[in-house]
């Protein structure tokens, strides 16, 4: 193990311990806020795992997250909480494998539009199925204690970070980067492009599904509009761009800041919340320090490129 690696790992363990002990010392509000931040951090980091290096802008996050909601709603009460989370992750993985195999040959904005429509399709199908089968719109979910939710999302957060680090440092990291740079050349250099993309897409979906199942238990009632909300797809992209995707700290920082700002807006100006949020969003895209390192290109170059400034 190199020095660099052990420092990172050490920092991670310290961060984990601090966050794990936090509920023993602080008020309920901070824990609630942290749950929200960790949720978005999971979604953002998971999104960056796939879309960062490959440049495929996925807007399907809400589909996998919402799937987690429904897994939680359907199985809540019958299955223990940890199993429920794993079940959600596994389902998201399987669904994402299928979606990825179908769609990852679409390039550029077509892929973005497709994933965007996917969320709305699933939302409408679930709505219709519920109307016909259960003759209701929503479902009830058995709640879990705030502390239970906090620890669950904390563990999933660290799993996500760990997975993201492992993928980056493994051969898959280089494969994903070269796919983002020049897909055709990657294929002719021996990379199984389709499999690499689909597998990574599905892996990132696991964490989105798990986050969904956990957060669903924060609500007593869910319906397709709550579960498959387009905001859930767009926010992680913004948070990643806001924080920068050069390393994994960026997305986490972006998620934390964005969530916190949103929280303040919501409590101070509940009526203007969405309006101000839209303005903040536009302004941050316009003036984001790191935004140029955006979507279409593989962005790990800063970290991987040994300090060479990108042209």
């Amino acid at each position: 193990m190199t020095r660099d690696k052990s420092v990172t790992l050490g920092l991670l363990i310290v961060a984990f311990l601090i966050l794990a002990l936090l509920p023993q010392f602080t008020s309920g509000y901070l824990v609630t806020l942290l749950i929200d931040i960790l949720k978005f951090a999971v979604l953002t980091v998971a999104w960056v795992v796939f879309s960062g290096p490959t440049g495929y802008m996925s807007l399907a996050t809400a589909a996998f997250y919402g799937l987690g909601f429904y897994i939680a709603a359907v199985f809540s009460g019958t299955v223990p909480f940890p199993l429920l989370i794993m079940l959600a992750g596994a389902s998201a993985f399987v669904v994402a494998l299928g979606v990825g195999a179908l769609t990852l040959r679409l390039r550029g904005v077509y892929f973005a539009i497709f994933t965007f429509a996917l969320v709305l399709l699933v939302q409408n199908v679930v709505l219709e199925v519920e109307r016909v089968v259960t003759q209701t719109r929503g479902r009830f979910v058995e709640t879990v204690s705030t502390e239970g939710v906090y620890y669950a999302i904390l563990i999933v957060f660290f799993l996500t970070i760990l997975a993201a680090m492992l993928i980056r440092r493994s051969r898959y990291g280089l494969a994903l980067q070269s796919i983002g740079e020049y897909e055709e050349a990657a294929a002719h250099s021996g990379i199984n492009v389709v499999w690499t993309k689909v597998l990574t897409f599905a892996t990132s979906a696991v964490f989105m599904g798990m986050a969904g199942a956990i957060i669903a238990t924060r609500r007593t009632y869910i319906d397709p509009y709550i579960a498959f909300n387009l905001n859930t797809s767009f926010l992680p992209v913004l948070m990643a761009m806001f924080g920068g995707m050069g390393n994994l700290v960026g997305p986490v920082l972006g998620a934390a800041l964005f969530t916190y700002i949103g929280e303040i807006l919501l409590t101070r100006f509940p009526d203007l919340y969405m309006l101000i949020f839209g303005v903040v969003l536009i302004v941050s895209i316009l003036f984001m320090p790191n935004g140029v390192l955006g979507l279409a290109q593989g962005v790990w170059r800063k970290m991987r490129g040994g300090g060479h400034a990108p042209s």
Partner: protein
């Protein structure tokens, strides 16, 4: 037979409106390269402006398009000159610009929708306009008038693109921005004009829709999706494709709605996704 006739007329009318909306979106994406998720919000704005003009100034809804269209055009022109222009100048590649402008337009969606909600509230609104039916045929008069209006408007717009100097510049830019620039087209202005025209068409479509259906400040996104479906059907950037695709989707919509109204949205998405997978370049695509 009567059912069939009604489905057909409604389908044609919806199709005409969808075509307006979609040509608007295709001008924004095909030429200005902005995949404007907020497109439908300007339909809503057009609808509410018409509603408001009727209530406050008793202005005929059909005449109000002379105000809603230009107002939306100016908004679009300014938006492009400020927001999207800047994004364009700071993006190192087209892919990055497309990604960023998509996100920026998502922010725009929030802003426009919530401003509208603050101004007009979130209730369902509506008014009666030419609600009598043409006696012999039992067709609502407002639908026939709106249909005639759409046909005239579509024809006029087509003429504009085909015959006028600016129209030709727009079509040239849609095919190849660089070549158009070489041919002496002031590309910066054309892009802003296209974005403005797109929003103008959306607002006009919204004004017409308000004569037919109840309106609400949340209706925008649904129409954005419709426009995206049509634009993908027709091929991103193809104006003819958007017109044909709009009419086809209108017919599909009225048919599905007649038999099973709750499946209409699902039908849109299914068509959309199947099309995207089968013919990513659209029905008019190469």
């Amino acid at each position: 037979m009567i059912a069939f006739r009604d489905i057909f007329i409604t389908g044609l009318l919806l199709g005409g409106i969808f075509a307006l909306v979609s040509v608007g979106l295709t001008l924004q994406y095909g030429v200005a390269r902005v995949l404007n998720v907020a497109h439908g919000e300007f339909i809503m704005v057009g609808a509410f402006m018409t509603f408001w003009l009727l209530g406050s100034a008793n202005l005929n809804p059909l005449l109000s398009v002379a105000i809603t269209g230009p107002v939306a055009f100016i908004m679009g022109f300014i938006l492009h000159k400020t927001l999207f222009r800047r994004l364009m100048d700071t993006s190192p590649s087209l892919d990055i610009f497309e990604g960023k402008s998509l996100l920026a337009s998502f922010g725009l969606l929030y802003v426009v929708q919530n401003l509208a909600r603050i101004i007009w509230g979130s209730d369902v609104e509506g008014y009666n306009f030419l609600n009598s039916t043409v006696t012999a045929a039992q067709i609502p008069l407002n639908r026939l008038v709106a249909l005639a209006f759409v046909v005239v408007l579509g024809g006029a717009f087509y003429f504009f693109l085909a015959r006028t100097r600016l129209g030709k510049a727009i079509r040239a830019s849609a095919q190849s921005p660089t070549t158009a620039e070489l041919m002496g087209v002031d590309i910066r202005n054309v892009l802003a004009i296209c974005f403005g025209l797109g929003l103008g068409l959306a607002a006009i479509a919204g004004s017409l829709l308000s004569t037919l259906f109840a309106i609400q400040t949340s209706i925008g996104l649904g129409y954005t999706v419709i426009a995206m479906v049509v634009v993908v059907m027709g091929g991103l950037g193809s104006i003819t494709g958007a017109m044909i695709g709009g009419i086809i989707l209108g017919l599909v919509s009225s048919t599905v709605t007649f038999f099973h109204p709750s499946l209409t949205m699902i039908a849109y998405y299914v068509i959309f996704i199947v099309l995207l997978l089968a013919r990513p370049k659209g029905i008019m695509g190469k």
